[in-house]
């Protein structure tokens, strides 16, 4: 059996808008924050740019009545999931007893968690809201997606800040290769709420203003973001996939001086304006690697790599990688080669790479349909 997986559909919602067409438009124009957030600080009210997601498009897929008790965070997950299913032609009248769901989240439903705390602090222990408690548990979004979409295969929520997206895709790959599921909906979701804005301001101060310069590795240029990004994967069976293949995932802690990637590797770096992670890319990528970063399109959030994977899938479909916003970033000596024009993908694989300050790495390799790696995924 082939060990590569077919990418059959993508679904995204973020500051750039809703759906693949909105993302394509942002990729063509360069994108950027679409709103602002206000943060109260000891120094007074501060306003920062932000990439805010509007999940109201979910009403095109799910009855309003069924959404009454679903919070924004879960609505965003639902919308990304529905868009990926629709894109794969699996939205209507499909038996989902053999479909799996893997959802990654860094912050979980933090908005509902703080509302739950509000209910306890305002009214007392006996008046905690049962609805908010059920919403606030990190598995709640996957549960609601499963219930409303009838997904009855295996399910897993990954909840951590580091390498959550590579872990989610590793799990999805495992399930498909083991035959535990025939399709897996896999992706990430994170939401914004006030307490998160406060923490970001305290941690990073003015370094939340952007514009995000992912490859200006020594600068703090992050911008808060929210949204969801999903891919629908199957085993490599039947018609060739529109978006190419996911053929390898690697996650762990860096054990040597390099990541062992090929010299001429094409990399979408998951750097998203956080200085403390940036230097790792300079240290670990081959100097001849060609790199681009798309965080300025979707913002800084723990699940950012899921958005990179959607962008890589779209590039595999198109055969061209867009001119990345990082083309304008300042050049730093000894760093990998920054792509400064559109690049033909040809049969080259695209590595979506995330590194963090503690030495964790994770990458997911996507290949166009005619890639040599698609035939030899363990290469």
């Amino acid at each position: 059996m082939s060990r590569r997986l077919a990418i059959r559909g993508v679904g995204v919602v973020g500051g750039f808008g809703t759906g693949r067409e909105a993302l394509l438009r942002a990729l063509a124009t360069g994108g950027g924050p679409n709103g602002t957030i206000d943060v109260e600080t000891p120094e007074g009210l501060k306003t920062f740019p932000a990439y805010l997601a509007d999940a109201s498009g979910i009403r095109s897929f799910i009855d309003e009545q069924k959404l009454r008790r679903v919070d924004r965070f879960t609505q965003s997950a639902l919308l990304g999931a529905c868009l990926a299913l629709a894109d794969a032609g699996l939205l209507d009248r499909v038996d989902r007893t053999r479909m799996g769901l893997v959802l990654a989240t860094g912050h979980g439903a933090l908005g509902s968690a703080t509302e739950l705390l509000d209910s306890i602090l305002d009214d007392g222990d006996a008046f905690a809201s049962p609805l908010l408690f059920a919403r606030a548990i990190h598995s709640a979004a996957a549960s609601v997606v499963s219930i409303l979409l009838g997904i009855r295969g295996p399910c897993l929520t990954v909840s951590q800040m580091a390498m959550l997206v590579p872990m989610a895709f590793s799990t999805a790959r495992q399930w498909l290769l083991e035959g535990r599921a025939d399709q897996v909906l896999v992706g990430g979701v994170d939401g914004y709420c006030k307490v998160l804005g406060y923490c970001r301001e305290r941690f990073f101060g003015e370094g939340n203003r952007g514009p995000i310069s992912p490859l200006a590795f020594d600068e703090q240029t992050a911008v808060a973001a929210e949204g969801s990004a999903f891919l629908l994967l199957t085993r490599d069976e039947g018609v060739p996939p529109r978006y190419g293949y996911l053929d390898k995932v690697a996650v762990g802690r860096v054990a040597g001086p390099t990541l062992g990637l090929p010299e001429d590797v094409l990399v979408l770096v998951g750097a998203d304006g956080h200085r403390h992670c940036g230097s790792r890319y300079v240290e670990l990528l081959p100097p001849t690697a060609q790199v681009a970063g798309f965080a300025p399109i979707y913002g800084s959030l723990p699940t950012g790599l899921a958005f990179d994977l959607v962008i890589a899938a779209l590039a595999c479909e198109r055969g061209l990688l867009w001119l990345a916003p990082t083309a304008k970033d300042p050049v730093i000596s000894s760093q990998p080669t920054v792509l400064r024009e559109e690049v033909e993908i040809g049969n080259r694989p695209i590595y979506c790479l995330k590194l963090d300050k503690e030495g964790w790495f994770g990458w997911v390799r996507l290949s166009p349909v005619d890639s040599k790696f698609a035939v030899h995924p363990d290469a």
Binding site: S139, G153, V158, G252
Partner: protein, 374 residues
Amino acid sequence: MASLFRNERSPAPPRSFQTSHRIRYPVFEVPEAFWRPEFATPSEAISCGQMAIIAARQAMRDADFDPADQARRRVGVCIGTTTGTFMSDEVFYRDFRERRFPGVEPMARFLRDNPAHLVARTFGFTGPCQTVTNACSSGTVAIGEAAAWIASGLCDMVLAGGSEKLNRITYDGFAAMQLLDAQPCRPFDRRRQGLNLGEGAGLLVLESVDSIKQRRARIRALVLGHGNVMEAHHPSAPRPDGAGLRQAIDVALRQSGLTVGDIALINAHGTGTLENDVVEGCLYPELLPGVPFSATKGFTGHALGAVGAMEAAFAIACLEERRIPASIGFVEPDPAFAGRPVSEITTVNGRFALSVSSAFGGNNAAIVLGLIEP
């Protein structure tokens, strides 16, 4: 295990936090002495990740594995939790909303203490690292996923299981959902009124056969199969016909290559809630007739994301001891279902056990565990 076989339990009102509930629902808290040697932290401040570290040390000692000796091994960590990644720092949040502009060190600590990452960082492991939050099935799911990492060659060894630290918010949440029994819980009993919350951690050292042979270590038990199935029914209630749980058990059994007749015992989910116990009480006589089952939550409380892993460890110990403890709290059968857990210490014969978990939101998980042939 000794206290289980002595039929001892000591639920009590919470000591590590205060609440204003009229009823002081009993809980099973981990005694402070349990973590004192490692962490000089007051009980209200001990984290889920710190509990996991203590369990990891115990598990590695039992496996005769020194984490310093991992140079040629790829060691992963897969830990389940329900609330261990849930922002629950009340002091920080109260100060924030009252505009006292608190420092964010509590949040930095909360992020650092993600259970799987804290364990990996503490012991310097370099393999994949994942915190699973599938609610109450998290620990069982984490073991199943870790077993798959070993089987696929992703890792040589995985610290796998679950960890949970009880706090006021969880307590209030379960009380609000009217799922708590004001008395010591009574799984499968006709008079059951709900669950008692618990806390703790259970970790297993899973290892490839090659790695074990290389270390000349003993194999204590095998993970033979696992199932993970959503039932897509309701955010907080199980599907009454038990279809999801049945399917999870089917998947686990099929992977193990065993039949129902091979299973010597079941560690049931058995929470003591009205709805859960009906589902299991109806399912086991039909699907696994004659197989003795016990609910150990009467001894430990429901430690949410940790409990599936704790119960996997109990199931292995029961196979080794060839007996299962009484399902404490069960006295009067419920006429609504035919299943009856064991009401006294019961001898079991066989090498294979089934341990099951069900979760809020409809996730069901089952693992088949076995002893090696003597």
